[in-house]
Assembly symmetry: C2
Homo-oligomer: 466 residues x 2
């Protein structure tokens, strides 16, 4: 099946000539030929799977700021050196460390039943074990309407609809409100703890972790626990039967002071305009429950493998291609902000930036947010990618991935190779985010798309900045 699919991709690349480029295309025939060769090589290569297998197996889970994340940086540095990057280094930064610790949560009335839950990032520990009545809220809007101090001594449970699956992940931002800001209203109500239906599109007994939002500098003073969709269904059914619910809770999650994290940076130095940087990357940290295969071992593998294939060309592209393995993304884009700060003076030389951080399913469109004069370059890149099943999306779509936000805010142009995220929120932030969930053929399609498009941008003279 795998082999067959790769052959199909290969055949599409060989048999169908790509769509005709614009008459005055900024892409030369030689560049087009090289891009097509890169795609053919990528489709047949196992490099991406080797990278993500190594990261998830040899490093394992790697929470931002942990000793495991440090091992991942050393791994990333060595990988870059082994793959022939011209420069490879680590830029460290300091960050506050939140540790999950042990959790036990169970229903205690109407009967004893363990629940499958996990503390949300930033949550406080239980001072001592809590066993309290549950107040049910249909959704975050109901919790927002809670009166001050009306929940004293209670545990608030915020339900909600299960996320609908979609290619774009639409619905995540809205559903995520209960995870992000639920604690602020539960605390205002005086609750001892908050339990939320975890934000995911699966019906498996895995809780989805994730960071809460701080309120200014303030983090939650109460434990906040996400429970799996089947567990939330269960509580909803019991609530609808008018059963009085109580929950017992013991959680050790807490902030543990400052630690080191860092970004790993790998450069292929440009042959003509080495100061101009085309930035791609993923994030090296993961949540601690799974081994971070789709989030974001895949992004690390896709972008590093794409650059490594370009590194094997006889000549470096004109501009520098930089792979950044961002640290501590999950816990607040900390590596992204550190990079933007450290390189602030040089951001004017960042030609374009993009991140792969939406799993490992196939890419279906190319969107961009660059100088309108560069739109024809993007249109023509999309035509070259078309045998991979990729269409051209909008030319004024902001956002190149979470870690690109601080760069985009400072005027760095962005592109995005949009992945099909249909299954992403089944796995994201759960124990189930493991290597077996990655389809090697789909990963290879991603690498093909990155290799071709990044090469074409890096070897171009077209100005992408406004």
């Amino acid at each position: 099946m795998q082999h067959l699919k790769r052959l199909t991709f290969g055949a599409m690349l060989s048999i169908f000539s790509v769509q005709l480029l614009a008459a005055q295309s900024p892409i030369t025939d030689d560049q087009k030929h090289t891009a097509t060769q890169l795609m053919q090589t990528a489709i047949k290569s196992d490099l991406g799977m080797e990278i993500v297998t190594s990261l998830t197996t040899e490093i394992g889970p790697r929470l931002g700021g942990s000793e495991a994340e440090k091992r991942a940086r050393d791994w990333g540095l060595k990988l870059g050196q082994d793959l022939g990057f011209d420069k490879a280094w680590i830029e460290e930064f300091t960050m506050p460390f939140w540790d999950r610790g042990h959790l036990h949560i169970s229903l205690t009335s109407p009967y004893q039943q363990d629940l499958y839950g996990t503390a949300l990032g930033g949550a406080a520990p239980t001072k001592e074990s809590i066993n309290a009545d549950v107040v049910y809220f249909r959704d975050i809007h109901a919790l927002k309407a809670v009166k001050d101090n009306s929940l004293n001594g209670k545990i608030a449970f915020v339900d909600g609809d299960m996320m609908v699956k979609s290619q774009t992940g639409a619905g995540y931002g809205q559903a995520n409100q209960r995870r992000r800001i639920g604690w602020q209203h539960a605390e205002r109500g005086g609750a001892s703890a908050l339990v939320v239906r975890s934000v995911g599109s699966d019906s498996h007994r895995f809780p989805h972790s994730g960071m809460m939002s701080s309120e200014g500098d303030k983090w939650a003073n109460i434990p906040v626990i996400a429970i799996s969709n089947p567990d939330a269904d269960h509580l909803r059914r019991l609530h609808n039967l008018d059963k009085p619910l109580t929950i017992s809770l013991h959680s050790e999650s807490k902030w543990k002071g400052d630690v080191s994290s860092g970004n790993v940076i790998l450069d292929l130095v440009g042959s003509e305009k080495p100061e101009e940087i085309v930035l791609i990357g993923g994030h090296l940290d993961s949540w601690d429950l799974g081994t971070g295969a789709v989030d974001d071992g895949a992004g690390i593998a896709i972008t590093t493998a794409a650059a490594a294939l370009i590194a094997k060309l006889p000549k470096r592209p004109k501009r520098t291609i930089r792979v950044v393995m961002f640290g501590a993304e999950e816990v607040g884009l900390l590596g992204a902000f550190a990079y933007a700060k450290q390189h602030e003076a040089n951001l004017k030389n960042h030609v374009v930036a993009t991140e792969s951080d939406f799993g490992a399913q196939t890419i279906w469109q190319l969107v961009s947010n660059v100088n309108p004069k560069a739109t024809v370059l993007m249109d023509d890149i999309a035509k070259i990618l078309s045998p991979l099943g990729i269409i051209r999306g909008g030319s004024d779509v902001p956002g190149g991935g979470p870690d690109i936000i601080p760069l985009a805010a400072k005027g760095v142009p962005t592109i995005r190779l949009s992945q099909n995220g249909r299954d992403y929120f089944d796995l994201h932030h759960t124990p189930d985010d493991t290597l077996d969930k990655i389809n090697p053929d789909e990963l290879a399609q991603n690498i093909a798309a990155y290799a071709a498009s990044i090469y074409l941008i890096a070897d171009s003279d077209v100005e992408l900045k406004p």
Copy 2:
């Protein structure tokens, strides 16, 4: 979709007349008409979903011998009374109680990573926490070849191939050897503990529990833990990289002395031959990790709902229809043996017996193991079931479900309405066995098949015994 599918079943029942029955069919036109009406009613009824929803929601997990299983018996008794059965009672028995307790298992070398594991039924606790080197065995055959006392102070890990999915569940018995008897060889080798790849066809991070086999009267003296398939994959990859593995383990599972369990028995008393019993049922207990929806809330719902629909006919069938909700099946068919013992003198009056205990997917065939003279009755029943997509299987296939084993051993004829078990071993004995996994349309198809076939057997004069 759901509604559409039910309409399709309905249309099949209305439009296609069933296959012609044998010229000398033992089934009358009136009986055939009643059976068809029962199927039509069942397809439209929500009773089965109501029963399994109530059991899983209001009782929850119900380990054999637990307080929850006691609540389930009370629930079953009241359900039988509410649904119009003529008699409903509980037959208690005594059993040894094994309790899972708390488990923590993690990889400690080459790095720290929690593993998703669960103690196997009958396992001993850790006396104190263990942290030991792992000896890898490719499969149960490799462990069987281990030399005595060659594993002193080590933890044995038995890998194996992941179960292939199949309609019949083929492969489970073989794969299950590592769960059943692995401990005997690990103990002989002197291991401090045994860890096995859990027996399941899914690639989710859920361990599958299940009972070990005793060796005569002897149970394991060591902790025995099943870990999920992705965790086992992870250990295999690390082993293949020649990484020395150590595992830390703390488990509280143990035997806790004798407790009460019981079978719930619901009778529709026959109108002409009340002493002749057609026995159907499922098991009321479940493993404690999930809420026992597919194993075996579904079987309880299917058989109870089928009999309840027959109870609404104007007249009782000639023979008695008995629904048995067996207790303590998972921990060794204890309710089944108790029933066979208690009713030993009366087993000659058990016309036929069958159990629904293979999930909630559709039934695809009817097999039987009855007096050859009754084969034509079975053939004609299969013809009546054919609009449900059910074919006639073999007429000499023994086995009517796990709880029927002690009855069959004493000569009670059996039939089986074979369910499609393709997804069964994805869920079976895991935390993921929850209500959302049951498709209401498929459950209704099961009930239609049971209602029609059991009615036809109970209203027949054909002798099924050899």
